[in-house]
Subunit: 278 residues, 6 copies
């Protein structure tokens, strides 16, 4: 995170969750208080790095005297075996913080790696991968950053920073037009409005009313292509639904601006990194 | 969670993360304040349910007057399309809590489903699947429960409720024997001690010294079988490393008591559930 | 607030700030534990009401058994002497919560009243009064709502929900054009961009580059009128600087969409309301 | 604040309120990570400074490496254009903290300036201006200090550090005498008791019973003078009600010890200060 | 506590400290989810009851559906075997909350009982037992109330609600007179000032300067008597040092107003109470 | 505490409890802002030191520039008059933190001293003194460490880190055997199980079922000896009930492994230490 004040509470809470009441009783029993360690965090598989700042913060919060050296930037592609950071100093806090640091680092690097995979699948098309609000409860700001580091862009950060009118909203408002009119009447002048459309008829109605962005949900590529033509640059186009590395090229080829994936935050496997001592 | 006092802070924080400062500005703009909704949470794919309590708590925290009906127990296997809960009442809080509730429910059901898959792969062998500390930061107590609901058992909840002497500890203590001796000298009488062994020699040393449990890390099935024979019931045996649905049967057949998997908590895909309105 | 979960922590903290360690020692000493009270909150001067929900929450948090009756809606104009709520029940919690409730109610009604005064000064022009980020630390979400209740609209809620490129940003980026280009490259697709311009040359540059909204800072009415003509509907226009009830009509007549005032949140006097007992 | 441990939570919460989830997205997009700034906080109008410590703390909390130089003491009178502090270092945290720092500084300096105006109006009379509990929720300890810096004195900090028997208490206790007797019976030996009196008869009764201080509420100057004569030094006298710069001299001339004003904390306009870059 | 809003955070934190991450794993394993219990809290020795409200709150926080019946008032003397409350309902939350409830109840009743013992030792003398700031960190407001329930009175609640000038302050100020003068100059009009004196000379100086209360520290009874005569009603007199049930009568006989004891809060043994099931 | 991250919240809360809203108003009034102090913490009676780390943290939290020197290790026996730490620097924070630091230090040293007394009474027997969950709410982790420093060992830290089946559990499960069977079925592989037995019949049943530890509650020494013989090393034996310095030798002589005392945490008098200035 660019701002430590935002990320530190998350890392602190993660440490306390693992330390419990009594702390690392194994290390306190087995490792001498003055023992020193020289360790490195290394990738066990190739991928895209994210979360190194918060991982190192876990070590620092337990012992500010540890010597922490970044060997790699967040966002970089790492190879199997590549060392991404070095940690030197008292062994006890290093071992006590290890799991918390790695839990954060591997998860966030997993998000970045998954995003990178989808982003790479786009090829030369203009589309960008965007995330959703299907993030891990408590970790949203970190996962949003991991998406950016993996080459994606961010959708809304929450319910309050933009309007996204979904099918339920349309149904309860009695149609696309009244939904949009109510939204515009209430929106502040710096609030953008996006609307989910399931059919080209809905799309026509939305464009007629005027809209910042349209979410083209679960449309097949030919329909997507028609939608993009209908929009003709009057709104940002976002495709969603059944987004995989396999479907991304075709969807991107339909000409949409954005392809949104919940998978990159809710189901991406971790990137395996570990702590090595010499 | 059996105790609401433990789970509520997690759910509350998840809601606040999504609501931000201004709350659900789309719903407040588009849906009338007195509009009512009759909705159901339904499975979009088969799996094992977990987290329904905390998901429903998200709705209740936004509006205690909502009528919430469980149609399924946590731990149950659900079919595609099966409704697991019904939510009736004011539409605004239902739509505002929807994503938070589903984020928790889908993730926890994903953990339970992954656990259930590994547990089912054990067949008639006595082994049990156990989780690790490779959990999502902030969600450990919920994920540990999801593992139990999926037919697994829980390992340590943190660094302080049992001793697990790992390879780094052994190295820093100067061997298995001194590590174990220090651990025993420091452990309270209700603290169990487990030791990670990489070789049968280390195992012999540990058994000679006396130990509650041994973590047999990354051993191939024949070695595992030899290890189980050496232990001969004197300690609990846990196998770890390269645990997949494919490897579980062979590992279980080696006779170990426990098979531990980080994957079920760090990389399990979500179970897809959604909110349907009629 | 539409959502109690957002406002309650503010009210609770305000109560605890006043109760200190020992609570209302005067009331506990002088008023019998079983004494009852029948009180009303009444306006001591005419104005626009805001904050009644949070004021009543203060009483409820101290004693959920109190009978609280709204006699007036937030946003309504109140006359001198008009009762806006009735509070019946145990006297001790009513007296203990009185000051906290009134501190919130009078301040928020003061914001709404000030906004209403500026909004009324606009007359038939299309302009709307908008607030700024010059709010009371800790009370922003409540003051933003008070602005809406007073007939105004909300600007950004914080630094993260829209981009507002100010003179310092322009200077550090090396001009309007590079500033805007960097902003667009970084902005998510649901993030609007506004730019502060001090001259018509800057405005031309911004319009040429494309922009959602322009902040016309401290321009005199003739210049404002020229600016509005230059914009010609291609962006939202916001005037700021020296906004008073006297200057608003002329500024609104220049044709701007928005007139932003820091005064309505940072310097509006309270609306005097008090607790009467019969 | 003399003690950082008391003020820091307020400043931190104010920063987080403004930064939201994603932080200062404009600055992060437009200003280079390594850009430096040399800025000064300067007064835009004359007044009395308060809150410089907490304003600078806002910058420090975002970046401890910033070079912060006080050019003026809290409590000092400042002229229009006078620089009160200099801030040098990385531009991003300076711009991100600017609004929070100024919101605190301008508001607290507004309180100090308003207090100073009333205090100056007292002239050679012995009276002192005191504040009330009509402070901004969440900012009481800072506003109380601002009052002192502006030449005023502090009344109670809350409901628990002294007894103030108001008209409602008297009514519920059945008169001045029983109210005072109950208060004395319950008060610890280091708790002072003040009583609000509306008539000279009530005052006589209170003096007869013995009292530390009397609040002479809404009495006209001749009555105030009579009250002071009746008290004859046996209690501290405090006048309240309709306190303005115009009425203060006459009220002070009546000989009271204290003149309490809610206006200095609940309705004082801010003192305008801003951040200048060179 | 008269106000639940003040006490609940303490009780909640105490429960969480005991429940840890996983809650009461014994009860969850051994006792059926639908098992019911009918239990009573009973005194195992005679004493003075305090803390029943917070003890019952521990049960209620775990399960609001429990039926809780007070059989005794806080402040009452209880006999060995006397039941003070009845708890009926689901067994699991009762057993999970038992220890937390009893830890609070036994400790606070211990404070009340110790206070009562000293208070009873005063006999017919006018002196009152007062507590000090030597309380248990985190429990001060509860212990202060327990002192009142045991027949004692409260001293300061903290460093901020009255001035107590101690020997260190006197030494650093350069004597009793300058210390008192500085204190008076800074004290708000509702702040009382007490001064610790070690000699009659210091006492004379303090009385000459004027003072609300004097702390006569570690004086023998004859000196105390002389001090009380010197004071002659011009200040409240408080004796401290070597206060035990044996010394109290003689100290009280010296005519002091207050006798302060740290022992009643820092070293009083608990009053033994337990949970009985039928 | 070995880990500052665990102890600091307790110390910070204790400081805030004492400082209240306005801080140390006596010291701020009487002692000059630039006054320096050279102070020492000294024992007023012999005992076993514990809590020096957290006591010094109280000073450091108020002023990180204070020079703090440990003259004694936690766990050491101290003589009357012995200095255990030196504090040099600005006088105001030293005086403001004094009581909080001493409240923690004296209480924790009291726990360590009481533990040491019981531990010394064991003589050459193998038994160890262990604590219970009858600790001060909020201070458990500090008191558990004080017990270790006093020569004792720790029992469970809470309800979740081991199973202790008590008489109520046995009764509700329908006997020792079903209780134990349910416990074993639910317990994770690193969770130990202890059972409270009141009779030798119950003990026989527990041993027959297999058990990690038995709590022999309120048995007289001859019965204890029989119990130890029955156990014959198959489980850890813990004696509880009526544990005093006088009874410990006889109980230890019965051959038990552990003797648990609630008194050392719930009723131990403080060890008197104070702050001396030169």
């Amino acid at each position: 995170m660019s701002l430590r004040i935002l990320a530190e509470p998350i890392v602190r809470a993660a440490l306390l969750e693992d330390l419990g009441r009594a702390g690392d009783i194994t290390t306190d029993a087995v490792v001498a208080a003055d023992a020193e360690i020289d360790a490195a965090i290394a990738a066990r598989q190739p991928g895209c790095l994210a979360g190194l700042d918060v991982a190192l913060m876990a070590f620092e919060l337990l012992d500010p005297s540890l010597e922490l050296t970044r060997l790699c930037d967040d966002g970089a592609r790492v190879e199997r075996g590549q060392k991404v950071a070095r940690i030197r100093g008292r062994a006890r806090p290093v071992l006590a913080a290890e799991r918390t640091a790695l839990n954060l680092l591997c998860r966030l690097s997993g998000v970045a790696t998954a995003t990178r995979q989808l982003a790479d699948a786009i090829g030369n098309h203009k589309a960008k991968i965007v995330c959703t609000r299907k993030t891990t409860p408590g970790l949203r700001i970190l996962e949003k950053e991991a998406v950016r580091l993996g080459g994606g862009a961010n959708h809304r950060f929450g319910l309050d920073d933009a309007m996204l009118i979904k099918d339920n909203h349309v149904a309860m408002a009695g149609g696309v037009r009244p939904a949009l009119q109510r939204a515009k009447a209430a929106a502040g002048h710096l609030v953008k409005i996006e609307l989910e459309v399931d059919t080209l008829d809905q799309l026509a109605e939305a464009l007629d009313e005027g809209i910042d962005a349209v979410l083209l949900d679960n449309m097949d590529p030919p329909t997507l292509r028609l939608a993009v033509e209908m929009v003709a640059g009057r709104a940002i186009t976002e495709a969603s639904g059944r987004i995989t590395r396999e479907t991304v090229p075709t969807i991107a080829a339909a000409g949409v601006d954005l392809i949104s994936s919940g998978w990159i935050t809710h189901s991406a496997p971790i990137l395996d990194l570990g702590l090595d001592t010499d």
